[in-house]
Symmetry: C2
Subunit: 226 residues, 2 copies
DNA sequence: TCGCCCCGGATTTTCGAAAATCCACGAATA
DNA sequence: TATTCGTGGATTTTCGAAAATCCGGGGCGA
């Protein structure tokens, strides 16, 4: 008697969260930009309440900041934060991968093989390739890294790594060309091989190098934006 | 012309956050208990909107959980989470303290001496001591641990450690007697001494032991609640 | 001229009620 | 008897507007 619309099973707040996060991650809302409720209500098509809840969640994840009585803004990006982010991702994901390789069972191995295959079969995103492929690659990339650490046995560690990954995403997308002349595919393959070979220290080391190189490339882009 | 009440500079949502967190940490709201808005609105004296925002923040910090259309509940406690929490605190705070000891400047040293002094001068909380002292000790305890890692130079790491500390707080308070027959004051002093002596590995090790022993004591209490 | 206070518009924050959704209970059917 | 299907009430979620707050500019006094 009360469903003249869609079979909504999600809340509007969740939809607003996805929408706004997408706008921020893709850079349509610039770092530091003030987020006014009127604008956001126009973007999503809803009242202020769910938008407010979405912003509360985004703030908890570090995408936005809140000053009392002054509203929300897009969190600013800085080289300092990029370095800090990288250092902590190396610490957390390095440890998580080590645990995964040590404790991961057969099911984890299977999922890892699948995730790597999905990532490897997609041609590396280039500037001249339409964004559809790009988005797909991003998804598989995220899934691969998530699968890598999914066997570590620590829900908290997995959650923390996920949040840091999301925060780093904004920096990653800043650079138009994801690869800075390096062999990203090869790096992923090396990590994958070490993990399957159950060489925990090597896998962790490779992952840390991988993140450091990504950060270095981004930092170069940061200083001299070509 | 419009301040017949208090000089409110904070938002009601922030007040609600503090109030509800206090209720949860002290155990007045039990783990797993459903949190109904009607009840919370009675506790805080405000409308549903700020309460909702407070719950959103609490959920981000792990105090509560949210199921769409089924509302919020107090997050449950479990031995598994205690162990997970402990493992990650050892990893994160251990590293943070190591960095602090290595990079901390004179200002950090000064703050650390002060924080330890404040903690040490308060008599160790016992069951027969009124809760006022207890609360004060908790505050100084938190401040001491926060100061320990405050020189690490990584805002992200500090933030993560803070969140884990808060989550662990609920477990710590479960046990009526904070000390399980061990020398907590001595443990703090040992960490303090190693930090001041600039022995980073030793300080980190002692801190990790400290957390492990706390967790072990709590786990014993968990299994056989006397 | 400079600094301080106060006002008006823009924006956030909060309210109280309406709408949507879930849950438990009981009736009807096989 | 077991299972499915509504139905009513409790609860969450959302709305639209009112209240509170902040920011910038103009006027007043030193």
């Amino acid at each position: 008697m009360a469903d003249e619309r869609r079979p909504t099973t999600r809340t509007l707040a969740s939809e607003a969260y996805d929408l706004i996060q997408e706008e921020i991650r893709t850079g349509r809302y610039r770092p530091g930009e003030r987020l006014r409720f009127a604008t956001l209500q126009a973007l999503c098509v809803m009242s202020v309440t769910p938008v407010r809840e979405a912003l509360a969640r985004l703030t908890a994840e570090g995408f936005t900041t809140l000053d009392d009585h002054r509203g929300y803004s897009v969190a600013v990006l800085s080289i300092e934060e990029l370095r800090d982010l990288t250092a902590n991702r190396k610490l957390l994901e390095g440890e998580a991968l080590r645990l995964s390789v040590e404790h991961g069972d057969a099911d984890w191995e299977g999922r890892l093989v699948a995730a790597h295959h999905m990532l490897a079969r997609i041609p590396q995103a280039r500037d001249d390739i339409p964004s559809a492929l790009r988005v797909e690659w991003e998804d598989k990339h995220r899934a691969f890294h998530a699968t890598l650490i999914s066997g570590c046995g620590s829900p908290i560690l997995i959650e923390l790594c996920g949040k840091l990954f999301s925060r780093a995403d904004r920096y990653r997308r800043m650079s138009a060309s994801l690869t800075g002349g390096r062999d990203v595919v090869g790096e992923h393959r090396a990590i994958f091989d070490a993990a399957l070979a159950r060489d925990a220290p090597a896998a962790a080391d490779l992952l840390r190098q991988h993140y450091q190189q990504t950060a270095d490339a981004l930092e170069r882009f940061f200083v001299e934006p070509s």
